[in-house]
């Protein structure tokens, strides 16, 4: 895989999309976006471009390449990418992160489709969420996107759990959703009074698949809740297994969210629908081989 500096020196001969981040070799975005591009017979290729922090300075060169059509951005550049853009979607501004850049005739526009990914994943259960509270486990960028998505469902508060609530640096509300920072000692009571639990921590991610942010005594409090994990590898995390065993009303995995955010990016760039089922099948095959 090329690093950004090499990529801009020897760019692809035709139109291209890319994801930048570091590390980015594990990214499944090229897999599903190239499926979508081929599905619609769009003559372009999607690449993963490794971009360590010191290589970010080359981003302007990438934007200036003749074949550049659009960009996804992942850790650690989701905030920094906002600096060279001409316009940022208000929701992305509120979240403080951009993961999709669109090349428009008026300039470069930044969006946050992680918010859309959460919205689309939860939409089917909207009736169970309206007016309720949500527990968000973790306080990083994915947690902020998750909190911002709650507005769509009219949820009245996000209880955000952090190992260091005082220094997490969250606003009092995000995208109009009031936020309360909490410590993990308060998790049990918060679970009991919430309709939705979202895990945005890396606990349970491959290869540490036995880990979960929810402890054994807290599992019964997942009963009748909508439980979602942002992790897609493994497809069934320890947290999701706990939720199923407790009798959760719905259990949603990160694969749904991952494809939904990709679909939103693809729609921004091309105006076309994403072949979600085809992409999901390819992802399942790929993850099965991990």
């Amino acid at each position: 895989m090329k690093q950004l500096q090499d990529f801009v020196h020897t760019p692809p001969p035709g139109p291209f999309y890319a994801v930048i981040g570091h590390p980015v070799a594990h990214s499944k975005s090229p897999l599903i976006h190239n499926i979508a591009l081929q599905h619609h017979r769009i003559p372009a290729v999607y690449y993963a471009v490794d971009t360590p922090s010191d290589a970010f300075a080359w981003i302007g060169k990438l934007f200036g390449l003749q074949g550049f059509r659009g960009l996804n951005v992942t850790i650690p550049h989701k905030s920094r990418i906002m600096e060279p853009l001409d316009l940022i979607d208000p929701v992305a501004l509120e979240v403080g992160a951009v993961n999709t850049v669109h090349l428009h005739r008026n300039g470069l526009i930044g969006y946050n489709t992680d918010v859309t990914g959460f919205e689309e994943s939860l939409r089917e259960h909207a009736l169970l969420l309206t007016g309720g509270r949500a527990v968000i486990l973790g306080s990083g960028g994915a947690a902020r996107a998750a909190a911002a998505s709650l507005k769509t469902f009219g949820m009245h508060e996000a209880l955000v759990f952090s190992r260091n609530p005082a220094s997490a640096g969250w606003p009092e509300s995000l995208n109009g959703v009031p936020v309360r920072m909490m410590a993990y000692e308060q998790l049990q009571s918060a679970l009991s009074e919430s309709a939705l639990i979202i895990n945005t921590t890396p606990l349970g991610m491959h290869p540490y698949t036995k880990a979960s942010p929810v402890s054994e005594p807290q599992i019964p409090f997942l009963k009748d809740k909508v439980c979602m994990d942002a992790i897609y590898n493994p497809q069934e995390t320890a947290f999701m297994k706990q939720a199923r065993s407790a009798g959760a009303r719905a259990v949603i995995g990160g694969l749904t969210m991952f494809i939904a955010q990709a679909a939103a990016s693809f729609r921004i760039w091309t105006g076309k629908t994403f072949p979600g089922e085809k992409a999901a099948r390819a992802m399942m095959e790929e993850l099965g081989n991990v």
Binding site: P90, G271, T273
Partner: protein
């Protein structure tokens, strides 16, 4: 709040481009006389209802390309909120537009002509969207702007 939906025989991106700038709203919304851009997120709306002038400033709160566009009023003498959702139909070759529009006074209840204006907004929105559909499909909606853009482009080319 008024809600209306229409389907347009044009691809999603083309329909979105026609509707993502409030300055174009007076071209199809008969209840709005003028919209001026203050900055990329802020627009000033003007209209008159029953001889009284209404002026309000809006902020775009959500603009996800090819997906949705929403705004709220931040000050003025009429409180307008709007959401437009775009849904691709038939693999993106046609588009459904779901338009929600709400008017209310900032204080108290609407009375007289303003009340009638608000009560008729649902029917009016349907008429406006039907006009929009015809204008967008026939290519006349942004005709003037495209001519102006192409003139600018010609001038730029001449300058180069």
């Amino acid at each position: 709040m008024a809600h209306q939906s229409i389907e347009v025989n044009l691809p999603l991106s083309k329909v979105y481009e026609s509707l993502n700038s409030p300055v174009d709203f007076p071209r199809f919304m008969s209840g709005i006389e003028e919209v001026n851009k203050i900055n990329s997120q802020t627009y000033e709306f003007k209209t008159s209802i029953g001889g009284e002038e209404y002026k309000w400033t809006t902020n775009i709160i959500d603009d996800l390309r090819n997906t949705r566009f929403a705004w709220i009023t931040i000050n003025g003498n009429l409180n307008q909120t709007g959401t437009i959702r775009f849904t691709p139909l038939e693999n993106g070759t046609r588009t459904r537009i779901d338009f929600s529009l709400d008017y209310r006074p900032f204080f108290g209840e609407a009375e007289g002509e303003l009340k009638a204006f608000i009560e008729s907004s649902e029917d009016q929105l349907l008429k406006d969207l039907d006009f929009l559909r015809q204008a967008v499909e026939s290519g006349t909606f942004k005709e003037k702007e495209e001519v102006e853009e192409s003139e600018v482009s010609d001038q730029q080319q001449a300058a180069v």
